[in-house]
């Protein structure tokens, strides 16, 4: 049996215990900022990056309070503090992390680092605090499921649809690592697959040229998909999946393109091409959230932002807008939102009775001009 990506990167076989000294530790105001309540020392402060990257600019006085708290936390222990850079994960993946490196964060979307030969783990705040205190993370190396990627996506589908199709077919990947193998994928496609792969519980994910295959993801068979709502954040990994046709006949009030999987320049280019010659439907609110400040600048330079503005979209600040209790894009009672964000739990985008479903860029843009 050949060595899997995770075994190679951690230097231990599946089932063995690996003791890791990470290269980077990321704390954000998303949820991992809770670590400041547990940390009393820092073994390797130079590795810790604290980022204010969620719901920018602050949507409530509480958000501003958190800014102050994590800023003081960073200063106290000598961590690097950054803001106004966009989503921390994407910033790290695109601009900082190198192949072979190990990243520890507080989000399961840390699988993104596996798209380029690194590895990321999302862990709880209490465990993350121990990593910060000791510069050490222990885990039992998970077994890997190898997924051969074949075919090309049909029209009107995107890589989010492919990832949702894969997750729908594998609703419980707890204690597994996922390896996507081969396929004609762009670097961004690989990031989307890897960052979404842990949405049903996988430990982390990778893309690799070659590897041992246990299952197949045939892109040619992908249809527009939705991740449906769930009751609360604790049940997010168990939220159901459905084809987009499931909501046929229902009015969609809003769409949001953003995040690691929908706010990259590659996604924005796709969306901009799709709106060419189209008109934003009255009573449909479209929000565009570039993932990072680099994506924002590129979209500005390429005329993409101007195209969105003239289409009638609202452009949010670069950053993570996947959970917005109050702030741009918040949803009202009984409304339906399609988002490229990964959260669909009740209340994640405003009112508890607003319905939030994850969809692809392609599905959201089609909905914006009334094709869905």
């Amino acid at each position: 049996m050949s060595e899997r990506m995770i075994e190679r990167l951690l230097g231990a076989a599946a089932g063995d215990t690996a003791i890791i000294s990470p290269d980077h530790v990321l704390v954000t105001n998303g949820s991992s900022h809770a670590v400041r309540g547990y940390v009393s020392k820092a073994a390797a402060p130079e590795k810790v990056l604290v980022m204010y990257d969620h719901n920018i600019p602050s949507g409530s006085p509480e958000d501003a309070k958190i800014f102050g708290e994590i800023l003081r936390f960073a200063k106290q222990y000598g961590f690097t503090f950054k803001q106004a850079k966009g989503i921390g994960l994407k910033y790290l993946a695109d601009e900082i992390v190198k192949p072979g490196q190990i990243v520890i964060t507080g989000t399961r979307h840390a699988g993104i680092f596996g798209a380029s030969g690194a590895v990321g783990f999302g862990i709880s705040s209490t465990e993350l605090s121990r990593v910060i205190e000791n510069d050490r993370y222990e885990l039992i190396v998970p077994k890997t499921i190898g997924v051969k990627v074949t075919g090309t996506l049909p029209e009107n589908t995107g890589m989010i649809d492919a990832a949702l199709s894969f997750l729908a077919a594998h609703p419980d990947l707890k204690c597994k690592a996922v390896e996507f193998i081969g396929g004609d994928l762009s670097d961004h496609d690989k990031q989307v697959l890897c960052s979404m792969a842990c949405e049903t519980g996988a430990v982390t994910a990778f893309w690799t040229e070659e590897g041992e295959t246990e299952t197949v993801l045939d892109l040619a068979e992908v249809v527009p998909m939705l991740r449906m709502p769930c009751s609360d954040i604790l049940h997010q990994t168990r939220a159901p999946f459905a084809p987009a046709s499931y909501v046929e006949g229902r009015t969609i009030q809003a769409g949001q393109i953003g995040g690691v999987n929908g706010g990259a320049i590659e996604d924005l280019r796709i969306a901009a091409d799709m709106i060419e010659g189209k008109k934003l439907k009255l009573r449909f609110r479209l929000t565009v959230c570039p993932a990072t400040s680099t994506d924002y600048i590129l979209a500005a330079r390429e005329g993409i932002l101007t195209k969105f503005i003239e289409y009638g979209a609202q452009i949010s600040a670069a950053g993570d807008h996947s959970i917005v209790k109050q702030g741009a894009g918040a949803m009202g009672h009984g409304e339906l939102l399609f988002t490229t964000g990964m959260f669909t739990f009740a209340g994640c985008m405003g009112c508890d009775d607003a319905t939030v479903a994850t969809a692809s860029v392609e599905t959201i843009i089609r909905a914006s001009y009334g094709e869905i």
Binding site: P57, I297, A300, G312
Partner: protein, 598 residues
């Protein structure tokens, strides 16, 4: 209507602003029934739960200053407040209160003779008595008493509709009549529209505004009021603009979508085609799209409607019920105001902007210094100002309580509106016009100004504030979100970086400004400098969630208001300045004089 009645007193001080009556963050709650419990929540949190029908407020001067929000009056009428006695009232609140069925009485003296909980006896048009002391009061105009007697403007309008609406209006004055000398700017514009040869301050004129603007904060209430009035059509849909800027992008989950839907419902029902959804701030769009023109009358459901006075347009804010009535009838009454002439000599020096000029004036004449008046700007420095600089000054004239802030029309006005100067050059100040007072400023001597916590008129020269630590800087708003403002800030921030512990938010005023800022590279400059960009909207200026602050944090804004609680909690400290001061401060994190930058 009872001409004599009694009530229990709730006592307040001076300058009770609309944010204090009902905080901006509560302003988008869709129903008054739900909203009214938050009346005075920051100042007297017990008010909403303990006020009784028939209670009477006694206050100092300038009660109801600030926003045009009609809810400041309707939450009081909704709570049963019958009458307010104060030394003076802000203009828009005055109209809104009577339109809501509340009697306002001006009285200077009772404030020192009573305490909260005392019982006051009111004899309308005669006197008020408390604790054995009696104070004479003036008559209330019959048209206002009639509105109260009819149960408020809604019922009053229904009666007018039932009697049949007439378009038997005076024709506008011709060019020769407009050029008759001896009048202030506001007199000239009002008499032109009303079609009367002569007016003096205090006259009531019936105008037929050339443009009505509604923004999304008030769309649910306007829709509801139009329905209550039984409106099947409005006078002229082509004279109406609806702009979604306070609640768009939708940000307050429980409320904003209601405002969005209501705005579209109104547009569809009444055939209003000038619909701007999420394209930026209403006041900037109004002159950008040339909806508000020199020499014309525009009105809107917002206090900063005074903005277009920068182009010599008479424009003043009104409440929702009054807007509904005016949309139906096409008419709006105004009392001709006294005027103050403000002569601007000298030149704006490097590092100075027109914001510094209006802040200096506000600091001098205070928040009620222009109450019910027209502030009229002239002098070489006024004419040197660009149109955007003039709009900034006119925008903030409201903060002195002014009914309007007007500039003369000149070559720059004509060029901006692409119209011959000969059509509008009658909008000039006559030497023989009668002004209540004349203020003269030499801009050569002006230093950058800051409005400090917590009141717009708490103005200090930058030398007194220099070095104050800031937690956030916000560059935007209808006051200072223009392309010139973006350039001023970008020129300072280009190639540099803000401190990591400082949040800097930039919000272009409109989509036009946004697109131009992208094209000219300003947006890239801002982002590279460490700023975040939000989509054009009213944003934090009106307290929406675009950079809200926590207790004891300090923010410097280029906006127009720093009322308590507006930009965060009631302990947040807000400062106002020009974009140059804001950008210089963004570079250091401390209040910084732009003149000291290399």
């Amino acid at each position: 209507m009872e001409k004599e009645f009694k009530g229990k007193i709730w006592k307040f001080g001076d300058d009770i602003d609309t944010d204090t009556i009902i905080p901006g963050k509560r302003g988008t709650i869709p129903t008054i029934e739900e909203m009214k419990k938050y009346a005075f929540e920051l100042l007297k949190p017990e008010f909403g739960s303990t006020v009784q029908p028939g209670d009477i407020l006694v206050a100092g001067s300038n009660f109801g200053c600030g926003s045009s929000r009609e809810q400041a009056a309707t939450v009081l009428s909704g709570n049963g407040v019958r009458c307010i006695i104060a030394k003076s009232f802000a203009r828009i609140f005055f109209r809104n209160a009577f339109n809501s069925g509340i009697i306002l009485i001006t009285c200077d003296g009772i404030q020192d003779a009573c305490e909260g909980g005392d019982i006051v006896t009111v004899r309308v048009g005669e006197s008020v008595s408390v604790n054995g002391k009696t104070f004479p009061i003036g008559q209330i105009p019959e048209n206002l008493l009639a509105i109260v007697e009819h149960g408020g403007l809604i019922e009053d309008t229904k009666m007018r509709m039932a009697q049949g609406l007439s378009h038997d209006w005076n024709p506008e004055l011709d060019d020769a009549a407009r050029r008759k000398n001896g009048y202030t700017l506001v007199e000239k514009i009002l008499k032109k529209n009303a079609g009367v040869d002569h007016v003096v301050p205090g006259d009531i004129v019936i105008t037929h505004p050339d443009m009505f603007m509604i923004h999304d904060i008030y769309t649910p209430y306007l829709k509801d009021t139009l329905e209550k009035m039984g409106a099947k059509k409005i006078d002229d849909p082509d004279k109406v603009t609806i702009i979604f800027d306070h609640c768009m992008p939708t940000a307050v989950a429980h409320n904003d979508y209601v405002h969005y839907d209501a705005g579209i419902d109104i547009a569809e029902k009444f055939g209003i085609e000038k619909l701007h959804i999420g394209e930026g701030i209403c006041h900037t769009i109004m002159h950008e799209k040339r909806y508000a023109k020199p020499g014309e009358i525009a009105t809107a459901t917002d206090s900063h409607t005074t903005t277009y006075g920068g182009a010599g347009c008479f424009c003043s804010g009104i409440g929702t019920a009054e807007m509904a009535a005016a949309l139906i009838t096409g008419e709006l009454w105004f009392k001709v105001p006294d005027a103050i002439k403000i002569v601007l000599n000298g030149h704006l020096q490097n590092g100075l902007m027109s914001k510094d000029v209006i802040l200096k004036i506000l600091g001098d004449i205070k928040a009620d210094g222009g109450q019910y008046k027209s502030l009229e700007f002239t002098g070489p420095a006024a004419h040197e100002m660009s149109m955007n600089e003039r709009f900034t000054v006119a925008n903030m004239a409201l903060e002195a309580g002014a009914k309007c802030g007007l500039f003369e029309a000149d070559e720059k006005t004509a060029e901006y509106y692409e119209m011959p100067l000969s059509e509008i050059d009658w909008i000039r100040i006559d030497n023989d016009a009668k002004y209540e007072k004349v203020l003269v400023y030499n801009l050569d001597e002006l230093e950058p100004q800051l409005s400090c916590p917590q009141g717009v008129d708490n103005v200090h020269p930058i030398s007194e504030i220099i070095g104050t630590k800031m937690d956030e800087v916000y560059i935007g708003s209808c006051t200072n979100g223009s392309i010139e403002d973006m350039k001023a800030a970008a020129d300072i921030l280009r190639g540099k970086h803000v401190p990591e512990d400082l949040r800097v938010v930039v919000v272009p005023a409109t989509n036009y400004v946004f697109e131009e800022s992208i094209r000219l590279g300003y947006i890239e400059d801002f982002i590279k400098a460490g700023c975040v960009i939000s989509h054009p909207c009213c944003g934090l200026c009106c307290g929406m969630p675009y950079g809200l602050m926590y207790d004891d944090e300090r923010i410097l804004l280029t906006a127009n208001r720093n009322f308590i609680g507006r930009q965060g909690t009631k302990k947040t400290l807000s400062y106002l300045s020009s974009p140059k001061v804001a950008a210089a401060t963004a570079l250091t994190g401390y209040v910084t004089d732009p003149r000291t930058l290399g």
